[in-house]
Amino acid sequence: MKCALLSNVNVESIARQMVAHEVYIAQGYGAWTRELADPTSGSLSYGPSSVFLIIDGAELMRGQGGLEPTLAEIRQHLACIEQAAERLPGIKFFVSTIDVPARALRPLKEERIERHLEQHWHRGIARASASHGNIYIFDLKELVEQVGRSFLYSNKRWYLGGLRFSTAGEKLIARELERVLDAQLVARKKCLLLDLDNTLWGGVIGEDGVTGIQLSETGEGARYRDFQLRIRELGEMGVILGVVSKNNEADALEAFERHEHMVLRKGDFATMKINWSAKAKNIAEVAQDLDIGMDSIVFIDDNPVEREAIRTELPEVTVPEFPADTCELASFFGQVFKDYFFTLVSTGEDRKRTDAYLANAMRAAERTAAPSIEQFLTGLGTKIFFSRANDEDLARAAQLTQKTNQFNLTTRRYTEQELRALQTTPGAEVFIASVADKFGDNGKVFTGIVRRDRLGTAELDTFLMSCRVLGRFIEDQILDQLIKELRTNGLSRLRVQFIPTRKNAPARAFVERLQGGQVVSDEEDGVRTWEFDITNASPVTQPAYAELRMQPVRFPKALP
């Protein structure tokens, strides 16, 4: 991934550590504000998707006379960052917090103005981040606090080469920067499954009983309570939580219902497999029930035998080592978060996800009760809102292209920046749809990209939908509507491509139920392309079960 590293100290050595990415370093390391202000500067014209501003507090304050002039300079810097962010909405700016060591020996009576400066800077970038979607906080100060100045900085390197950080410190910073870049590329895990005994609480519920297990506000039992607090935070960020435990279900549920210090409650979990079956079997069932891949599951269990069994039988499931010292449970979980669930922003969609899985369970119950699938689908009262993707939708649309594997015709991944560019490309259009029904709002679950040529043919570059609304023929209805739009817009043919992957069987089923297509190319790796005449007919064979509302926008945009 292309990124630029701007700093008021020499960071070239940090860039050299980030071998997996293309990193641009401004020449002349003091020039960071000039680089930001000038759109033709090397770091901005290089086309990075992310720009990091690593600001050294000591250097920022060097040569300043007193508090007021320093604050004024900080304001100038912040304004400069905000202007750059406004001018370049497609670039993400990660601005570091600052650490300002005490400048001189001082008596105990004197106030430490460095603390003011750190605070002032932090408040400034927090405000900038709140008002600019593309400004993020890179918490360098937090890193200093965690490892200490004597570890992170090096006097020798400073005097020898203007290098502020120690070699170990540089490695640490490089790893954090890479984490931020990777979070934009790699799909994070979706689901955390937890064992119960000696994992969520100390002791064995079946033997010790609700009053006997270790779980408390203070003292030893607080190890598990603090762990549960962190897990709940993760749930609030939209990660699906589940339980996989060998226990009598009634015993375990009693603990969740009756223990006064239990943080997590039954409603926090989208699934609970509490029985005596092999855990591999239970986890496989969870993947099926929730319609997620094994590779999006993380499993935490204190028992090394269980961990090893899952690693052997379900190698795609991630099984972190459990800390030997349970005092480290909460900090262990901090690392689990960073390694598997790290995300730049927690979107509203993410937070709604667990609710959505719960609503799905209710839908499943209704489906079993309904006399026919048609009656069930009609009874859901589904509403589809279909429109051209506007600026605010693009983050979600990009996330969908990154994460959706099952109902995805072409599995092309796009960044938000790329989608933003498409929205201004003649002949191309990104569209999006949200779905709601009587059980709740599923949010924006559908996106696609259509491109047109000059001869009246439109091509589906991307057509995908989150698996949580699969099986309701929503995709058929959206394609039917899309075809109507294309026809109104004077297009006569639609080209549809299917690129097979290990996971997209649902997309294959969809293209196979379309009617009247002519295969125009059939490649060796199973990639197949059809063309449909859409002047009078629609390839969609399924009746419409939902009410579809369309924002009246003609698309795709005309070609010049």
């Binding site: 070239e12 020798k156 005097y159 170990a168």
Partner: protein, 74 residues
Amino acid sequence: MEERLIATVASVLRVPKSTLTLHTGPGDLEVWDSLAQINVICEIEAEFGISIPVEQVTEIRHIRDFLHYLEKTP
């Protein structure tokens, strides 16, 4: 000791150990520039728990020059 020294330098420069001997030094390899030289010195200090005085840094022209400091350590 010599092997550990070469391994340390190789890992800082991100080159195979076979490209280095005790007689290799800054200037012999393109990646071994002045910035890399600072990284090499600091990594060796950390790896062997020694401290090389700033005044003597310029005297280090080959990997073997580090041996002088390592022999002094217990």
